[in-house]
């Protein structure tokens, strides 16, 4: 029964486990996905964050450096024009009135400085003495009066005059640069600022970034897209241009995100162009500045997608290798549960955990089916025994019980007859034999009475019994048999035993049975003494122990327990009821009866009976 309970519990456990099958797969997928995504996203997040900061810092630095360098180039460009112009103030003929020779020299100036469109010499009173031009007629001594013009008035001795940027024809940016010579004459150059385009267009700011120059009023004077300049574009509304006005120095921190003239978001850096009031801007579209980051994010997104795909593929394999076999196993388990056919076996191919699980499952089924078989045969046996014990076994039992006193009576009658048939009949012995016959007859009668009481379900005749008396009575009873079998009996009794509460006749039957079994067991012994030891002892905590030891062949270990079964017998003539009944009786008294092998040979039967009130039987 216990085994069956265990088995069914196991099956239900397995079934419970398999009931999660619908969640097993999503769990795997979820775990894989989470692991993949968390790993990738956290790595990517860190990388993106740090790259963003690194990139921003380096871009700011680079752009600012570019701005500084470009500003330097433009300042240099303007400086070179001023240097060329200063040459005119140092020329020896500057002191004298201009002539044909000076005209040629001034024309060479135009040849050498392409950015200068017109070049004029004003005398100390502000009157034009010489003018050469790329677009109009060259002239000597025009005497045009420029004495009120800033290009004459504001030109100091050691400091060049730089006019605000003006747009010739409303389109081309120009500025005037004047230098005063020692003699007070002034050289005036009109500079076409379109030539700065060469400088700004050479500055590469990424792919779509650009460098441009804005004058002090916020007007665009140089830009890679010259058309913006020619349109006379006013950039003073741009946030970065306004910022540059307040912080003209332009620190690396001044780099910021702003909108450019096309409305794009740009990373902008600026610096002032000394000594002019111009500002150099270097701008890179934000999209482009962070393009590597976008591609990084894109790569990571692709990686995450790949990871998800891998997780999905892993799930497919997982399903193939784990979930599907588990599902098959579950289906099989439920089939077994429904059909109760324990001869079914799971098919398995692999040697992995699933395969081993299938093997274990099959083995479990084998044991289950064996257990079922055993169980059914035991049940059959039990039913048989129960029938026999209730009917025939009782008859056999009665016969056996009666047979003992009858045998004793027959033996004593024989003894009595032998004593009488002696030449000198020993009346006393005969008397004793008759007395024993009488006792045995009473005992037989008590057996009958006892059996009748069982059938009547009469209450146990419990009485205080001294087990030593019972032992001695039995030994006396079998005295003849002992002699017949040449058995030496040796009682070893504890004189201070408490009395037990028992049915005296039944106890006598048990001891007699044990003693007779011992005697009969020693019947075949030829090579050693046939010794019967009967002992009584106190059995702690509250019992009395009687042991019956023989020097017979002993019982083989297998039969040790079975000897107490009904109809088990090692004797050819035995019915196999003796020990079975003995144990029934002892257990009815709340005691125990068992056998152990003796040393070197033989068997010891142990009989424990409880003392006093605990001796109340359950029969």
């Amino acid at each position: 029964m216990i085994k069956r309970a265990k088995t069914s519990a196991l099956i239900s456990d397995l079934a419970a486990l398999f009931r999660f099958r619908r969640r097993l797969r999503p769990k795997f997928v979820a775990v894989l996905t989470i692991v993949v995504c968390v790993a990738l996203i956290s790595t990517a997040a860190f990388e993106v964050l740090f790259s963003y900061q690194d990139r921003k810092a380096s871009l700011i630095r680079i752009q600012h450096e570019q701005a500084e360098s470009a500003a330097g180039k433009i300042a240099e460009f303007m400086k070179s024009i001023e240097d060329q112009l200063s040459w005119t103030t140092h020329a020896p003929w500057a002191a004298t009135a201009p002539n044909r020779q000076s005209l040629d020299l001034w024309r060479m100036m135009l040849r050498q400085v392409p950015a200068i469109t017109d070049l004029a010499l004003l005398d100390g009173t502000g009157h034009e003495q010489l003018r050469v031009s790329r677009l109009s007629l060259d002239e000597i001594g025009s005497q045009l009066d420029f004495s009120k013009d800033p290009k004459f008035l504001e030109t100091e001795a050691a400091k060049p005059y730089r006019s605000p940027v003006y747009f010739r024809g409303g389109s081309e940016p120009y500025m005037t640069i004047s230098l005063r010579a020692r003699n007070g004459s002034v050289s005036v150059a009109e500079v076409n600022l379109k030539f700065i385009w060469d400088v700004v267009s050479q500055i590469r700011v990424g792919e779509h970034g650009q460098a441009y120059v804005v004058d002090g009023r916020g007007r665009l004077i140089a830009h890679p897209d010259i058309s913006l300049v020619l349109r006379n574009t006013d950039l003073s509304d741009l946030a970065q241009v306004q910022a540059a006005r307040t912080d003209s120095a332009g620190s690396p921190e001044s780099t910021q995100i702003a909108k450019d003239t096309y409305g794009r978001e740009v990373l902008t850096a600026y610096t002032s162009i000394a000594p002019l009031d111009w500002t150099m801007f270097v701008e890179l579209p934000v999209d482009e500045a962070y393009a590597p980051l976008y591609s990084l994010i894109l790569r990571v997104s692709i990686l995450i997608l790949v990871g998800l795909l891998l997780a999905f593929i892993a799930d497919l394999f997982l399903a193939r290798w784990i979930v599907q076999p588990l599902e098959r196993l579950e289906k099989f388990a439920s089939t077994v549960r429904k059909t109760k056919d324990y001869s079914l076996r799971v098919e398995h191919k692999s040697d992995d955990e699933i395969g081993r699980l299938a093997v274990a499952f099959n083995e479990m089924l084998s044991e289950l089916s064996a257990a079922r078989e055993r169980e059914s045969s035991e049940q059959f046996e039990l039913a048989r025994v129960s029938r026999l014990t209730t009917m025939g076994a009782m008859t056999a039992s009665i016969a056996h019980e009666i047979n003992q006193p009858l045998a004793a009576i027959a033996a004593n009658a024989n003894a009595g007859l032998r004593w009488l048939s002696r030449p000198a009949p020993d009346i006393e012995e005969v008397h004793a034999a008759l007395k024993r016959i009488n006792n045995d007859a009473h005992r037989a009668s008590e057996v009958i009475q006892s059996v009748r009481s069982i059938f009547k379900k009469a209450p146990q005749q419990g009485a205080s019994v001294n087990v030593n008396d019972v032992v001695l009575e039995v030994l006396a009873l079998v005295h003849g048999e002992l002699m017949n079998y040449h058995v030496a009996a040796k009682p070893d009794l504890d004189q201070f035993l408490p009395q037990v509460r028992a049915d005296r006749v039944q106890l006598q039957q048990v001891v007699l049975n044990l003693v007779m079994n011992a005697v009969e067991a020693m019947g075949s012994v030829q090579d050693r003494a046939r010794q019967l030891n009967v002992a009584s002892r106190r059995h702690e905590p509250n019992g009395v122990l009687i042991t019956v030891q023989d020097t017979g062949p002993g019982i083989d270990p297998d039969g040790k327990d079975r000897i107490f079964n009904a109809f088990f017998s090692t004797k050819s003539s035995g019915m196999g009821m003796g020990l079975f009944i003995c144990r029934s009786i002892v257990e009815a008294h709340g005691g125990r009866l068992w056998a152990t092998p003796a040393q070197p040979r033989g068997t010891i039967f142990h009989l424990v009976l409880p003392i006093g009130e605990t001796a109340e039987g359950r029969v």
């Binding site: 964050l49 963003y52 040629d104 024309r107 060479m108 135009l110 040849r111 392409p114 031009s133 790329r134 677009l135 109009s136 007629l137 060259d138 002239e139 747009f167 024809g169 409303g170 389109s171 081309e172 076409n192 379109k194 030539f195 010259i226 058309s227 020619l230 349109r231 006379n232 995100i257 978001e265 934000v286 999209d287 962070y290 393009a291 980051l293 976008y294 591609s295 994010i297 894109l298 997104s301």
Partner: protein
Amino acid sequence: MRRRDIVTLLSGVLASGAGLAWPAPARAQQGAPAVAFFHSGSAQVNAGIAEAFRQGLREAGYTENKNLKIEFLWAEDHTDRLEAMAAELVRRQVAVIAANSVSAVAAKAATATIPIVFQSGIDPVVSGLVASLGHPGGNTTGVSFFASTLEVKKLELLHELMPAAAVIAVLVNPNNPQEENQANEVQAAASMLRRPLMILKAGSERDIDAAFAALVQQGAKGVVVIGDPFFNSRRTQLIALAARYATPAIYSNRENVDEGGLISYGASLPEAYREVGIYTGRILKGAKPADLPVLQPTKFEMIVNLRTAKALGLELPSALLDRADKVIE
């Protein structure tokens, strides 16, 4: 990281993602835009500027017969045909019209919607092509050549070479809308230089022959050939006549000097047509002519042909040779 940065980042990711997913397909010739190259001269003489125009378009990302069709319309110096040709162009609805000055004026008269990119030797504001150089305003923009103001410089240069009292002739095209302005400016400059001047008009091949015969007959010692599309077309004839009559001549275009003319002063015409090509490309990409300012040349070259000078028996002053951007020996 500020929120705006993140938004920018994300939009950038989306943009780059979209770019990755849908790469721009190379535009097939089928359905490629068509532009017109509309010129008053002939293909033969103007092969150089046509090629410069193609070059500009290539720089702007357009290659002929690959992603662009170019229809060339040459009036072969028949300026009376320009009007009809312009109407035909408008009827064909080309995407952009690239034109030289007189053709541009004809095209401008024919359409106010089709973008026109000009190379103009005449003042585009005066001729009504644009409202102003910085803000053209309409459907027209291009490269202005300053040519009319440069005539003064050409006279000045020739003046340097001539003996003090020699008469200088000026050859003008009466069909040029600004012929009068040109003549007046040169006349004014001649007065300042105290140089006797003779103005000759030539509107046809025969006129040119006649003009040269006349200037020699009337004792002119040199000739200023005014910058004009017709004279550009007739450069071979002009060079030959100048040689035949042993007359020093100054031109606007260096091509004339390369082919045997004595001297030229002016901006590069092919360079101007390259710019016209670039502007045409920008307009094809969506720029509005009204927003594209009129470009002006910044480099003016003086080219001198010493061989021609020698043939003419002319001693060129070293000061002039020093200033020359190129001396052909």
